[in-house]
Symmetry: C2
C-alpha cells in the first residue's frame, strides 16, 4: 500500500489519539526538543504500549526507551491528519457557544483559520470577534463561494441548524462541525460531526458509574 492509502484507513479512535498527541506536542514549551513515549503517555493519560503502537503506525518508529524528536512528531502527525495546508472556516451563530468558539485561539496552531462569522441578530452584525466582523447570515453563501471555504461551524439554536447547514453545503462547504443540539443531515459527499453535549456527559456518567471500582 502507498503511504497515502495507509493514511486513508486509520480507525477513528486512532485518529482521535493522533489528534491528542499533536495537541499535546504543539503546546509543549519550545525548549522541549525530545520526549519519551512513556513521559508522553503518562501526561496524556494513555498506556505507553498503545502510544508506541500508534507511533509504529505513523511510520515504523516507536521503540521502548527511545526519545522522539518533538518537531519530527509534530510534522508527521500534521501530515497524517492532513493539516499541512491552511484551511479556512466559517461560523454561524454567535450566542455564548459561538462566541466561545470564535474566541478560541487554539485552532490556528493546526492551520485551521476562522475567516467569516455570521448571525441573524442585527445587534451582533457589525461587531467584531478577534478582529473578524460578524456579518449578516444572508451574506454567508456568497462569502463561502468567494473564499472557497470548505469547513462550516454551526452554533445556531436547534431550529435553525439544518437550514444553515443546507446553505453552507449549497455554497460549497464539505465538512460541517455542528454544535447545535439538532443532528443535521448532509449529502454523501459531505462529512458531518455532531458535537452533542448530552452525548459527552452520558459517556462520562457511564465511566463514573460502570468503570470506577
Amino acid at each position: 500500500m502507498s503511504e497515502d492509502a495507509i493514511f486513508r484507513n486509520i480507525p477513528q479512535f486512532t485518529v482521535l489519539r493522533f489528534a491528542r498527541y499533536l495537541n499535546f506536542l504543539v503546546n509543549l514549551p519550545d525548549v522541549v526538543e525530545e520526549i519519551s513515549s512513556s513521559e508522553m503517555a503518562g501526561i496524556i493519560g494513555i498506556k505507553p504500549t498503545q502510544l508506541r503502537q500508534d507511533f509504529f503506525t505513523l511510520g515504523g518508529f516507536g521503540r521502548q526507551g527511545k526519545k522522539y524528536n518533538v518537531r519530527f512528531l509534530i510534522q508527521r502527525l500534521g501530515e497524517v491528519l492532513a493539516l499541512q495546508q491552511p484551511q479556512d472556516m466559517v461560523l454561524a451563530g454567535v450566542g455564548h457557544l459561538g462566541q466561545a468558539i470564535a474566541n478560541y485561539q487554539g485552532f490556528e496552531r493546526f492551520n485551521l483559520v476562522l475567516k467569516g462569522i455570521f448571525d441573524v441578530n442585527p445587534k451582533m452584525v457589525g461587531l467584531s470577534i478577534r478582529d473578524i466582523p460578524v456579518r449578516d447570515l444572508d451574506e454567508m453563501g456568497s462569502y463561502i463561494q468567494q473564499h472557497k471555504i470548505r469547513i462550516g461551524v454551526i452554533c445556531t439554536p436547534h431550529h435553525a441548524a439544518q437550514n444553515v447547514c443546507d446553505q453552507m453545503v449549497e455554497a460549497g462547504v464539505r465538512a460541517i462541525w455542528n454544535f447545535s443540539p439538532e443532528n443535521v443531515t448532509v449529502p454523501e459527499d459531505v462529512v458531518v460531526q455532531n458535537e452533542n453535549l448530552s452525548v459527552g456527559i452520558m459517556n462520562l456518567s457511564y465511566r463514573l458509574n460502570r468503570e470506577l471500582p
Copy 2:
C-alpha cells in the same frame, strides 16, 4: 456473566453510540411509539447492521424489519448508561463556554442536574443562570461536600483548570468534565473527560481530507 458485569465491559465507541441512540429517542415527539432500526440508523447516520448489533448487545433483540418500542429502548439505554438516578453537577467558570453549558437544557432529560455554579469574577457572583446563583469559587468545596456532588464541569481559563480540578476532587467529585484547553490530571479513582476543541476539529479535518473521495 451477570447483566451488571456485561454493562461494565462495553467498549467506549459502543457507549458513545448508545448515548447517541438515547439522545435521539428522548428527542422524538411523544406521538412516536415505535421505530424501526433502519429508520433510526438512517436519521442518526450509522449503518443499520451496526445498530441492530448494538441492540443485540442491549439484551438479545435487534432483528431486521422489526419495530422497537421507543419507551422500552429509552429505559433500557438509561439502565445501561447508569442514568436512572438523578446525578448532580457543579460547574466552575462562567465565561462564554461556561454560560453556554449552564444554559444548555438537554442534560435534565438524562437525570443530570446542574446544582451549583462558581466563578472568581465578582461581577458574575450573585447573578443567576436559569435560577441557579453564581457563587464565589471559595464556596465550591463546601458546597460539593454538603450536597455530595460527584460530577464537576470545568470551564475556566487553562491556567486555573488544574487547581479547580484539584479542589473538586478534594471535596469529593469523582468525574471531571473538562472544557478548558488544559489536560487536567486526576487520581486513579476519578474519571476525567477532556473535551478539547482542537481534537474535535482535527478529527473533522482528517475526515474531510482523507475519507471523502
